[in-house]
Symmetry: C2
Subunit: 229 residues, 2 copies
DNA sequence: ATTACTACTAAACGAGTAC
DNA sequence: TGTACTCGTTTAGTAGTAA
């Protein structure tokens, strides 16, 4: 997978941990491990060699047998897996949602709002970036995308407060952090006083996305919206 | 492994869950999944077919793309993995410890103690079985085994209370549930008024282990002692 | 655009065996 | 006993491509 055979190495590590090798040095023969893995003695031996090379376990081969202990590095790997599983299983919401839309040119009004100092300050503070003064507009075309976008409203978001200037009122804005095309960080804005309906996404980012991602009107773009825990 | 490719199927399920497919129906193309897996589109496609066959996911192929949702069965698999990892990572003790010893014939005194009604009642209640009236004695031969056996004393055990009969006092007994040769359930007894030192294990079981496992003096036997959470 | 087939390549597996 | 090598076999992975 992501890294060659990392999946089976983790599985082996799990079995070793079940034999206590993450808490103490345990005597585990390749034959015994093989039984726990449902594989051959040779395969178990190979795995132990590979885990050793990776630094995930420490081995001492003595006359009494092969003494094995999972290293700090190996324990960290298990912990990582545990953390992501815990996050997934205990969160009520999906961790992310992917939407796809088509680039189009808006009326350029988004830039007006984003440039407002009172919004900008909050974007920087709450989203971690100072937005490029302009929005990327995406038109959702499928029923799946508009439905999913509506689902989003029910999930927690970053709340940017509204304010009143000398002449008018600027409403609060809900922001959903996201990744555009698996490359650039940004955020989806909703409830910006928009002329667009629910089938339009307005996206801000620290950079000019059209230039950075070489986007033109009509291009399809995937965004992965991150749901807050 | 234990079951063919179950390891990679779980990994794929994890990635699908990271895309929210355990909480909602998500649109995930084989190409996109492939990217997350670090594999080819064809491999991702094959995995989805296999997961579908297993009943771990549900798929609907529409014109809008492939809609995927992890089934209850699939979620259960992830939950199972999560549970075992939680158990491993959060327990302070190793979940089990394996010891190896050589069968020898004792003085038969163990039987006398075990047969005592006040002990038997507690064994049945706290260990879940009525012990065969006799102990299997194992002599630990390596330095690793005696050292490990001593470690055991620090771990939590099932406590069987002592009592006083008309003529004498019977001390408390610590029991560690275990599996003998990966086959039979039993328990290790310690602090039975024993003539043996720390290099001897006294094991009870609901059956006559010598007969059930065809054991003779001098045979090597592996026991896996379970540590209580 | 997408999925998934077929045909091939690469990798993992395990039987035999040396140590 | 045990581990781990070689090497033939099996299995997983991918490119090309049809639907």
């Amino acid at each position: 997978m992501t890294e060659k055979n990392v999946c089976r190495h983790l599985f082996t590590l799990l079995k070793l941990a079940e034999m206590g090798a993450h808490r103490r040095t345990a005597r585990i023969s390749t034959e015994y491990l093989a039984g726990k893995l449902g594989a051959s003695q040779q395969t178990a031996s190979r795995y132990l060699i590979e885990l050793d090379k990776k630094g995930w376990i420490e081995r001492t081969i003595t006359v009494e047998g092969c003494l094995i202990r999972i290293t700090e590095l190996g324990t960290k790997e298990l912990q990582k897996l545990y953390s992501s599983l815990r996050f997934l299983m205990e969160a009520a919401y999906p961790p992310s949602i992917t939407l796809e839309g088509t680039v189009f040119t808006g009326l350029g009004e988004g830039a007006y709002y984003i440039a407002k100092e009172q919004y900008r300050r909050q974007f920087l503070e709450k989203l971690g970036f100072d937005p490029y003064p302009g929005t990327l507009n995406l038109k959702l075309t499928t029923e799946y995308d508009t439905r999913t976008r509506n689902e989003l409203e029910a999930y927690p978001a970053v709340e940017v407060e509204g304010f009143t200037s000398e002449d008018r009122t600027f409403g609060p804005v809900k922001c959903y952090p996201l990744t555009i095309e698996n490359k650039e960080k940004g955020a989806l804005l909703t409830a910006l006083r928009s002329h667009y309906d629910a089938s339009v996404l307005e996206i801000i980012a620290p950079v000019l996305l059209r230039k950075r991602l070489k986007l033109k009107d009509g291009n399809k773009v995937k965004v992965e919206v991150l749901i807050l825990p």
